[in-house]
């Protein structure tokens, strides 16, 4: 089914709470990021290094993935490959079934959203409980994340207070953020101990050492990956990096770009299941590596750059479109500029092509991207591919052919501008949606071409 971006955006624009919540949050995150990078030269150097590291990784992606598998296996981590979301869900389900699991606690993972894991498991009678506070709120509200690192950013504290009051037993309405967080913590704490399975994402998977790195702020990621007897991590194949020394610059870029933190509160490095002399940690660790269109992106030299993404969310924080319509309006798992690049490549331009139009090519996203992904160029490239499809808008194709006929023929162009200036008083007062919000521009009495010819003749 085709995704109707524009209709969804119009709906979102009409909701003042979306406008307010996002504007406030995005302003806050922009300021935080800016404060975290006080030195422009250092930032430029670091971004360039991040770009290089990820580009080097991509240039050897198949080899590094093999190396990752080999070293993870040596460490006792079971590695699984999934080409599609369905395969990934089946793999995870089969591991859970082997352990007769009933309850899984989850750390934040956008790839798990990508494969709709919660719904899949629910249908199999397995409860998957989100333990990141934002994700917990979103799950409680039966919604989806509206931001890749701040999933509940579309809600303000009043809305969350009402949600907790409605959905959680014995919870009274309170707008105290501390009390609300306390409620969530109390409930989740018990679940960590009850759970048979811990699920998590991965921020970086180090090929050289077979290490899974997990960045988080709440400690829930550490609970999910250490308390339950089985830990299943899922990630996209692009999260692999070559060596451990690649991590410090990437981590620094990630946390500073995302939330303006120099380092996250927790940084977990998972290298193996619990060893015989260790007192904690899961008995089994599984890693599911998801393709879902990524190897297709890898084939195209330009679009391959999409795979450098470290999912910091800075592009959406700085996007003037995202800031106004929020994440749900995109109707996709990944919203904002990176979503506009990733989703059409995963799900196809016929379905997700329209969202590439939700961009003024202002370049704010590309300017802040910590790994220098030229997001506007990639959006433009996808528009080009869309314009080559049989399903392209016929009206638009005709309009550009006419445009070329006029602007590509100086004589016709002269006639056109002559007519437009001479008939300026009858030029249309209403030109579609432009004049719903603005007055129509009126051609000048004479064109610049004419004024210059007249100057010469003086």
């Amino acid at each position: 089914m085709k995704n109707h971006f524009r209709e969804q955006a119009v709906e979102a624009l009409a909701d003042p709470s979306i406008r307010d919540n996002f504007r406030g949050a995005m302003d806050f995150l922009r300021d935080k990021r800016q404060a975290a990078f006080p030195n422009n030269d250092e930032l430029a150097e670091l971004r360039s290094l991040g770009h290089q590291i990820k580009a080097n990784t991509l240039s050897r992606l198949p080899d590094l993935l093999e190396q990752l598998e080999e070293n993870c296996t040596k460490n006792g981590i079971h590695v699984h490959w999934a080409e599609t979301p369905e395969q990934a869900c089946e793999i995870i389900h089969s591991v859970i079934k082997q352990h007769d699991g009933k309850l899984a606690v989850k750390g934040k993972s956008m790839v798990s959203e990508e494969i709709s894991l919660n719904h899949y498991l629910e249908a199999q009678g397995i409860e998957a409980l989100e333990s990141d506070m934002g994700e917990y709120i979103v799950q409680l509200a039966n919604e989806t994340p509206s931001h890749i690192i701040m999933p509940a950013i579309h809600k303000n504290k009043d809305q969350i207070a009402h949600l907790f009051e409605d959905k959680i037993e014995d919870v009274k309405y309170t707008e105290s953020v501390d009390e609300l967080i306390g409620t969530g913590r109390r409930i989740l704490r018990e679940k960590f101990f009850e759970a048979d399975i811990g699920l998590s994402g991965v921020n970086f998977a180090v090929a050289e050492t077979g290490t899974l790195c997990l960045v988080e702020n709440e400690g829930n990621g550490r609970m999910c990956t250490t308390v339950p007897p089985v830990h299943i991590a899922i990630t996209g194949i692009e999260k692999v990096v070559e060596k451990l020394s690649d991590i410090p610059p990437l981590l620094s870029l990630l946390t500073r770009s995302a939330t303006g933190q120099n380092i996250s509160t927790y940084f977990n490095m998972i290298s193996s299941p619990r060893k015989t002399d260790e007192k904690d940690g899961p008995k089994e660790v599984h890693l599911v590596l998801l393709d879902n269109g990524r190897s297709r992106m890898f084939q195209d030299e330009t679009l391959q750059q999409t795979l450098r993404c470290i999912r910091c969310g800075a592009c959406m924080n700085h996007c003037p479109v995202y800031s106004r319509i929020g994440g749900h309006a995109y109707g996709t798992v990944y919203p904002g500029p990176i979503g506009q690049v990733v989703m059409p490549q995963i799900e196809g331009l016929d379905k997700q092509g329209e969202m590439t139009e939700g961009c003024s090519l202002n370049g704010a996203c590309g300017e802040v991207c910590p790994v220098e992904i030229p997001l506007p160029s990639l959006i433009r490239k996808l528009r080009e591919q869309k314009a080559a499809l049989p399903s392209r808008g016929r009206k638009e194709a005709i309009a550009w052919t006419v445009w070329k006929g006029i602007y590509g023929t100086p004589f016709l162009y002269k006639c056109f501008t002559y007519a437009a200036t001479r008939f300026r008083h009858v030029s249309p007062k209403s030109i579609g949606s432009w004049t719903d919000y603005r007055v129509a521009p009126k051609p000048a009495p004479k064109t610049l071409h004419e004024l210059i010819r007249e100057r010469k003749n003086d």
Partner: protein, 255 residues
């Protein structure tokens, strides 16, 4: 990224002026003003009459072949090795930064790359190449400037426009809130996503009005058309003009 040859050492004797299609039809005074600002520094201005459009709109819409066909004609018209001055950050950026990629698999690739090294946005040319000195002859006025996203992020000329304005002693330049955020124009974006575009333009207009300035200037007529069009529709009277027109008027001697 910055491949501009420096003509600083010796001021060029002549330059090409690429007027842009928007200025040609809607804002010719801006073009004439820009030409006069350049000519009064003793530089000859050549305006090839066959010029039409840089091709940015179809390029941004994914219609690259149409863009190439029209862009190729402009490249041929601007072939002498002299600077090309463009009174628009977005059209200048199209020619400077996007032509090389657009023509990368085209027989005219070399010409496109060569041209790109000679392209200047107007304020950049006035301030960095001609080092113009402006003497303000106008009355005190509060002005706010909007820098287009291409001028800011691709051409990197925000400071050039501001430094020219700041040379004017009677002009109080005030920056709107969130100055670096897009005004919502985006060429065909304003047509294809009118509601989002309008939401962005509304915020920008509000920020401009909040500065208390009585005059809005910009180096890009697309943004001006968007913002002044909305302010006029909402009866929010604030004058707007291309920066070139404003600079010329402020510095002309009245005879």
């Amino acid at each position: 990224m910055n491949t501009t040859k420096t003509f600083k050492a010796n001021k060029p004797k002549k330059i090409y002026f690429f007027g842009t299609c928007l200025i040609d039809l809607f804002y010719p005074e801006a073009g004439i003003s820009a030409i006069e600002l350049i000519e009064r520094e003793g530089v000859d201005v050549i305006f090839p009459q066959q010029q039409t459009c840089c091709g940015q709109a179809p390029f941004n819409s994914g219609y690259s072949q149409e863009a190439i066909d029209v862009a190729a004609m402009q490249i041929e018209l601007l072939s002498e090795p002299i600077p090309v001055v463009v009174p628009s950050g977005s059209c200048a950026s199209m020619m400077k930064h996007h032509y090389p990629a657009l023509f990368s698999n085209h027989p005219m690739c070399e010409k496109a790359v060569e041209l790109s090294t000679r392209v200047y946005e107007l304020t950049e040319f006035l301030s960095r190449v001609l080092n113009v000195v402006l003497v303000d002859r106008g009355k005190p006025v509060k002005v706010t400037m909007h820098t287009s996203c291409s001028a800011r992020r691709e051409m990197g000329v925000t400071e050039d426009g501001l430094s020219l304005l700041k040379q004017l002693s009677q002009v109080d330049v005030c920056e709107p809130e969130r100055a670096s955020e897009c005004c919502g124009f985006g060429g065909t974006f304003a047509i294809k996503q009118p509601e989002i575009s309008a939401a962005m333009a509304e915020d920008k207009c509000q920020a401009i009005i909040q500065t208390g300035a009585s005059q809005l200037v910009s180096g890009d007529c697309g943004c001006l058309m968007n913002l002044s069009g909305m302010m006029e529709k909402n009866n929010q009277g604030i004058r707007s003009a291309h920066l070139a027109e404003f600079l010329l008027k402020r510095t002309q001697t009245t005879d």
